[in-house]
Amino acid sequence: MKLNDAPGLDRKDLLGLEELSEREIRLILDTAREFREVLDRPIKTVPAMRGFTIANLFYESSTRTRMSFELAQKRLTADSIGLAVTASSVKKGESLRDTARNIEAMRVDMIVMRHSQSGAPHRLAAQIDAHVVNAGDGCHEHPTQGLLDLYTLLENLGDLRGKRIVIIGDIAHSRVARSNIHGLRRMGAQVGVCGPPTLIPVGIEDLGVTVYPTIEEALAEADAINVLRIQLERIGVPLFPSTREYARLFGVTPARLEVAKREVLVLHPGPINRNVELDSRVADAPGAVILSQVTNGVAIRMAVTYLLAQKTMKAAHALA
């Protein structure tokens, strides 16, 4: 391991991929690659972060993302706690400032925050000294998901420069889509989006993406597709009429993939609505890299945690 030589990230927080440079993204991906090797060993722990305390603050339930973060923290031997945030305290409108003050008083070093409102981690980060990692804020960003998608794509495609990646589904409400767009563009990929017109937000072209009018056109050109999960609560809002119609118009099926490149990669952030946005035969085919996304996610979260903490850890060791 060359980990100790890693320079660390020269920022306190990871709030989104929009603000990361290509150099920073590469540093995270390179570090993740080293942790990814560790995950294949019999003993999967690196004693890198003893005494570093992390609070996982999930205002919105997400079993998978939370488990992935917790596992990453355990693999790094950090101390982690989960703060149960009940739906009621959110409804009461607890001030993010109060939350910040309370956490600060507990002397935690890092907060991993999932929140239903866009920008909540940004407000928290601005008011505390502890590191903040955004684990998904509203419809805004989900940077660690974006990074693990990049990792998985690079692992399979080698280089993203000039490659065409298409994101399919509910672009309007997807933080995964936004983080993917920023990250992919930074790495030189061409990005397209495709979905029902009601789920393509106003002005998305300004983020530097192509909007494909039909899924057939999108699939014909793609080197990889990232199929988003359709949130069932959007049905009849009225954003789209039914899952059956969605599957008929935008579901990724073997028949549709016949126009695609033979080796097209299929990603999905999970959990899959099988046979709605993704046909089971596609989800379980060799081109689908959905399970390696999950494993890579742990390595990415280890890398992000480790790199953000570098400065704080070094300062602490200097004191000791």
Partner: protein, 429 residues
């Protein structure tokens, strides 16, 4: 000698409807202007205005003072202090209090409280419908008798076309306007900012400007039928201004106002503020094009008045996440300097002052104020239009801190405010 006697000496007087600035003294006796001429001698207290501009006191058509019901955010006392500090001698309070100002008792209560405080001449915009519920017409006649100057369900739009028709017809007999908060809420549900590429990037639900345009277009269609007077609160988008410009050209009885923040800021501010809810207001900050149209509307006279929509909320109420936070910003104390900073590159000081004095006075039918002339109220503001300073919200008289201009460099400083011959802000020097 009367406590409502005052001599304002040595200043440059500006009457928005007169031709130019002139150096003169201004004498107020028993709360009314009695003389304007050089070198007045009178045995009354003197306010030295040397080096300052003396203008009619400002008139704000749109404030929320939160009393009764939400006195922790603001009350008539603290709100009045903000008004006086901002050079406003007349404010019109919106009815969305708790309980709402929807009958003669509630109207009288607020007017009486403001009179006790005595720092600003407060008038009430009464509710159009009982409980602001959008169903039953409020007793407009009784409220008019109690002193209401207009009617509005502000905070909420009047969406039902049949109700809007009846409100315009019924209010006609009192010669009072209906003030519309123009928002088709079917288009803004869950929204937090203007809908555009910026809301898409920030992942915030948008409130498209068509929501304002649609309601204004509908209301304009009702004017020839009803004969009512119609005023659009806080206009925010180019298409609304275009609709009103045409309506005015057709001779329809329309008027409108714009807030200082819609003149000075656009949606980019939301992108730059890291989700600070002090940039969340309704209507939201719009596009650059919309903002330019607001300035143009002020220049060409389509817009009658600058109104603050002063809407206090406490820091902890704002700091619950951008989407969940309540809409609104305070604005009385910064209105003049924000307007001066934004508009003086485009228009004369006299034309700017018209938007704060005679413009709003004619919208709500105030005949005894808005100009400097013998017989009118002795409501006067003294300011320095050129001095620049960085505004700090910590200096506010409000109970709240939700300013969109904290830390901003602004031009123009209110030095003293005189209400019916009494100095209610600043000091006799």
């Amino acid at each position: 000698m009367h406590s409502r006697d005052l001599l304002i000496s040595g200043g440059r007087l500006v009457d928005p409807e007169a031709d130019e600035l002139r150096r003169a003294d201004l004498l107020i006796r028993d709360g009314k202007v009695v003389a304007l001429s050089p070198n007045i001698n009178a045995d009354v207290p003197v306010l030295d205005a040397t080096g300052l501009i003396v203008s009619p006191g400002f008139i704000d058509l749109h404030v929320h003072f939160r009393e009764p019901g939400q006195e922790w955010k603001e009350d008539i006392d603290s709100g009045s202090r903000c008004a006086a500090a901002g050079g406003f001698t007349t404010v019109c309070a919106m009815p969305n209090t708790d309980p709402p100002l929807h009958d003669q008792e509630s109207v009288r209560f607020v007017v009486e409280r403001a009179r006790e405080v005595g720092l600003v001449d407060l008038h009430v915009v009464g509710a159009v419908t009982t409980d602001l519920a959008g169903t039953i017409l409020s007793p407009m006649g009784e409220m008019a008798a109690a002193g209401c100057v207009a009617f509005s369900d502000d905070g909420r739009p009047i969406l039902d076309s049949g109700l809007m028709r009846r409100a315009l017809e019924y209010s006609r007999q009192f010669y009072l306007p209906i003030v519309q908060h123009a928002e088709d809420t079917g288009l803004t549900r869950g929204g937090a900012m203007n809908e555009s590429a910026i809301s898409t990037k920030l992942g915030l639900t948008g409130m498209h400007s068509s929501a304002e345009e649609i309601v204004v277009a509908r209301d304009l269609a009702l004017l020839p039928l009803t004969g009512g007077r119609y005023h659009v609160a806080h206009t925010s988008c180019a298409r609304t201004i275009e609709l009103l410009r045409r309506a005015r050209a057709e001779g329809l009885p329309v008027s409108c106002e714009v807030t200082p923040h819609h003149l000075a800021l656009d949606e980019q501010a939301v992108s730059d503020c890291d989700y600070d809810a002090n940039y969340k207001m309704n209507p939201p900050l719009r596009s650059v094009v919309d903002r330019e149209a607001m300035i143009q509307g002020c220049v060409d006279g389509t817009i009658d008045a600058i109104a603050t929509d002063h809407a206090p909320h406490l820091p902890d109420e704002k700091e619950i996440g951008f989407s969940a936070a309540p809409f609104g910003v305070i604005g009385l104390e910064t209105a003049f300097s924000v307007a001066a900073t934004t508009l003086l590159p485009h228009m004369s000081l006299r034309d700017l002052l018209r938007l704060l004095t005679t413009g709003p006075a004619s919208v709500f039918g105030f005949k005894d104020r808005g100009r400097l002339a013998p017989g009118l109220r002795g409501d006067v503001v003294l300011f320095d239009s050129e001095s620049e300073a960085v505004y700090s919200v910590e200096s506010t008289h409000s109970k709240s801190r939700n300013s969109a201009f904290d830390g901003m460099r602004l031009q123009g400083k209110i030095v003293a405010t005189v209400l019916e011959g009494r100095v209610v802000f600043g000091e006799s020097r």
